[in-house]
């Protein structure tokens, strides 16, 4: 990740290398299923797809901007206080997101409650700032941020879709399981709404992911 290699002059915006920054975190380097970071919020806010979607968008916004800002400042940040600078940037962005949610999607913001604020402590974000944005140019940093946030968000949505469908028979609040299913005795699984099932769903996703990509299996 030395900077010199990245500054090769003729690199296009979507060179293979840059595309990889965007796509790897969604698959092979997924922050949740491979690095197992940011699990807390996955357990907490995946009861409904709508809340998860807002959370995913919020994290994409925070992470994209945070990576860009830190990358822009990377030559000026005094190394001794770099963690504080990173945290300040993240916290400021999260507060902004929180204020915007309260103004425009109030009910979702009530639903997400403390978890919007807790984006600040989402270790994926600080991890990317520290590991990538501090040492890379603005555009790759932006892609890295968006990619990792999308990797996080995609798992969030997947877990939420499973839980909402099985737990409430709806997706995005719209009824999916038809009424006649209930009439012949189908019952929503109330357990899916409780946090433990998020953990189990994430576990199953990790299992499937590793089954399909053997290189992820820890052979040690």
């Amino acid at each position: 990740m030395s900077e010199e290699k990245n500054t090769a002059p003729k690199e296009t915006l979507f060179s293979p290398r840059n595309k990889k920054l965007l796509s790897e975190p969604i698959g092979k380097e997924n922050p949740i299923t491979v690095q197992v970071l940011g699990i807390c919020s996955v357990l907490a806010i995946t009861v409904q797809v709508r809340a998860s979607l807002v959370m995913a968008i919020s994290v994409v916004a925070v992470m994209g901007f945070a990576n860009v800002i830190i990358s822009l400042l990377r030559h000026g940040i005094p190394p001794r206080i770099r963690i504080i600078v990173q945290l300040t940037v993240i916290a400021a962005l999260v507060i902004l997101v929180d204020q915007v949610l309260k103004a425009f999607v109030y009910d979702v913001s009530r639903q997400l409650s403390v978890f919007v604020g807790l984006i600040i402590t989402n270790c994926i974000i600080m991890g990317r700032l520290e590991a990538f944005a501090l040492n890379n140019k603005v555009w790759p940093s932006f892609l890295d941020g968006i990619g990792n946030a999308a990797g996080y968000g995609s798992i969030l949505l997947l877990v939420a879709a499973v839980r909402e469908l099985l737990g409430a028979g709806t997706l995005m609040g719209y009824q999916i399981i038809p009424n006649f299913m209930y009439q012949i005795g189908y019952v929503d699984n109330g357990l899916m709404i409780l946090p433990p099932m998020a953990l189990i769903t994430v576990g199953v996703i990790i299992w499937v992911h590793r089954h399909r990509d053997r290189s992820l299996v820890d052979v040690s």
């Binding site: 000026g76 300040t88 902004l96 103004a103 425009f104 109030y106 009910d107 009530r110």
Partner: protein, 230 residues
């Protein structure tokens, strides 16, 4: 990099962040306040069994809430806008100086009296609204909310299963003595008109609700007693 640079850097950064955030907060405040007012209307309406979608809350509120009064501790009506009274401020004042909001709803000819209450949970404030039937003794509905109670434990006071327990409970006993509803740890005795089940793992929040109801309703006692005898 010198210490001087580090200090300068940190100071400038903090000032810039503060400017950005305060500007955003100021610009978005009107929208947020409108949302909070709508939520308050939804909460008040929910105590009389009307679930108002956000878009229609203002309209429905005007349709059902016929009167909004401000009372003093003697139960007399005084000047003021009941909707704008902030219980957080009022609860800090001595009882004699408090403004006590009261909303009167008319649902198809049936009158409901709605009062707000506010108290302390485990981590932060809790608040709610109670609606009473015309006898001013029987609770028709309750709505609670909280700032930061533990999800899954104390936070359950804001869930319908807890709130519905209050329907039909009484705040005066059969002899006319003030006896507010208490939240009982381990479960209320069956048939008790003045008690509801507490929340397992949420005892401090439950006790907070008990205290909130006792303190919050006691100040309305003079008004309720006066109205009852009419």
């Amino acid at each position: 990099m010198s210490n001087r640079y580090v200090f300068m850097y940190a100071s400038v950064m903090v000032i810039v962040v503060a400017l950005v955030l305060s500007t955003a907060a100021t610009l978005l405040r009107p929208l947020q306040e409108r949302n909070m007012r709508i939520e308050k209307m939804q909460n008040i309406l929910s105590t009389i069994g009307i679930s108002a979608p956000r878009a229609e809350a203002i309209e429905l509120f005007e349709q059902y809430i016929k009167q909004a009064k401000v009372l003093n501790y003697r139960g007399e009506e005084i000047e003021g806008d009941a909707f704008e009274v902030d219980l957080q401020d009022e609860n800090r004042r001595p009882v004699e100086e408090r403004q006590l909001p009261l909303f009167i709803a008319d649902v198809d000819g049936e009158l409901f009296y709605i009062v707000p209450v506010r108290g302390a949970g485990l981590w932060g404030p809790i608040w709610g609204y109670l609606s009473f039937r015309e006898d001013l003794v029987t609770i028709a509905g309750a709505n609670f909310d909280h700032a930061s109670e533990t999800p899954g434990l104390g936070a359950e006071i804001a869930d319908p299963p807890f709130e519905r327990q209050f329907e039909g409970k009484r705040i005066f006993d059969r002899d006319g003595n003030f006896k507010p509803v208490v939240v009982v740890r381990g479960g209320a005795p069956a048939g008790d008109e003045h008690a509801v089940d507490g929340i397992s793992g949420g005892t401090i929040t439950s006790n907070g609700v008990t205290a909130m109801l006792r303190n919050g309703l006691e100040v309305y006692k003079p008004y309720f007693q006066k109205q009852k005898t009419l």
